[in-house]
Amino acid sequence: MIIKYFISLLILLLILPLSTLALGNTSKKQEIQEIAKIYSASMQYIFKQQTLINHQSQDKEVLFGNKFIDKIKLTYKKKFNTSSFPDENKLTIKVLLEVMVEVMEDNKTLLLDEDIKFKGFIPAIFAFQISEKYSKKGIGLKVKFTNELDRVRNKFNSPDSWEIAAIGKLKQQALSEFYDPKGFYKGSESFRYIIPVTMSPMCLTCHGTPENNPENLNRPINKWTLFDKTGFKMEHWKLTDFGGAISVTIYNLDTLGEAH
């Protein structure tokens, strides 16, 4: 009887850590997916609000504070066809939403500036500001909008070696996501996740051909500008091209020595 009890206990002790580990992996994957999806929804909202953003006098309350977060939640639910939003009490999500409010407040003067016609507050710029602030919150999480090395406009968005390989996988295997619980980040094993960003016609107004550039509308071809409104040379991308990727990393604060 006693032997039987000890054997059962031993089996339990062997199984428990494995199941906890599996559960930990699942919850990490879910958490990392949620972060990527919220980030993606926020970029889409900024994308769709370009007219309001660049408007010189309209009421812009929806771009700030809780009203902005409510819009992000709505966009999230619509984009991912769900009635619920991830748990806001989770530290990573709470901080991400706070960072969004902070970024919008940081840009408030520009967004409300009635003298400036084009504010330059495009999704990539918004996403970069979110990434920069989020990475400084000391919670061991990094989110980034990246692309293939020769397709990034800002060197700070360049992919690292894991992202280069992961983007290759997304493209070659036409994956909708790639999760790696043992991906390397700065030399340490980390949870890494990446999803592709689909190109839309609006992307082409900057990244497409000069023909797609609204500034060339009604101009003779010999007067067309080759630069988009942000000042970059247009890259001649097509709708079927790879539009970039959202990369999320949960890394170990202790091994990377970052302050919590």
């Binding site: 700030f64 940081d106 003067t109 710029i125 630069f227 942000t230």
Partner: protein, 229 residues
């Protein structure tokens, strides 16, 4: 009385840094001070804010006549800081509004522009690698002189270490100039502690600060204040 031991009286030197710390003729105020006050009052500290210019603030901190100094970027002249920055600042370029360039990573737009730069500052590589013409502004009160040069159109743009100090909807100067940012080059603005403060006292203060930050960061507190306006 300065905070050498575990005394509950703190003398805090504050440096003007609008819109976080605003120095007007009669008083110093601003959301950074309200946040610090809220944090320390919860722990029954008696606090006194003293407005100081940066250089004098550093001297007074090192002498121990003030316990804390804020907000300040890390410098070799100060040896001790609380664990995390209070907020971050991003450098940028300020323009007369009609010449505004919104995205500075498109460095082609900076070609042949005359950009005023305060003497002694370290510039971001996005600027040094561009074909802009750098004009060093020397002397005292370089930022005010730079703004004056900009408004007189003697320079096309002014490099500003922290454009939020002038391009903020609470500042009337934002009616004339607009600034854009070199994202990716942010620096932390810290709370420095006096080297004469005891290790125990600093540790206690740091714990209070970190717990308070974990509940609500100053950056989020500041953003919320903006939404209340």
């Amino acid at each position: 009385m300065p905070f050498y031991g575990l005394s509950k009286t703190l003398k805090i030197g504050v440096i003007e840094y609008p819109p976080h710390v605003i120095a007007s003729k009669s008083k110093i105020h601003g959301p950074a001070l309200s946040y610090i006050k809220g944090m320390l009052n919860k722990h029954s500290y008696n606090i006194r804010f003293v407005y100081l210019p940066t250089k004098r603030g550093i001297v007074e901190l090192n002498k121990g006549s003030i316990d804390l100094l804020l907000p300040i970027s890390k410098t070799a002249e100060i040896s001790h800081y609380l664990s995390r920055p209070l907020f971050h600042s991003v450098p940028g370029l300020c323009f007369n509004k009609k010449d505004f360039i919104p995205i500075l990573s498109s460095t082609d737009r900076l070609d042949r522009l005359i950009i005023g730069v305060p003497a002694g500052v370290t510039l971001p590589s996005a600027l040094t690698e561009s074909n802009a013409i750098i004009k060093i502004i020397e002397g005292s009160d370089v930022l005010s002189r730079g703004i004056s040069l900009l408004l007189k159109k003697r320079i096309d743009s002014l490099y500003y270490p922290s454009p939020i100090n002038i391009y903020h909807y609470t500042n009337p100067l934002s009616n004339q100039v607009a600034c854009s940012y070199f994202y990716g080059y942010s620096t932390g603005l810290q709370i420095a502690t006096s080297p004469l403060m005891s290790h125990e006292a600093k540790l206690k203060l740091d714990n209070i600060y970190m717990n308070y930050l974990n509940k609500e960061t100053y950056e989020f507190y500041f953003a919320k204040q903006g939404n209340d306006n």
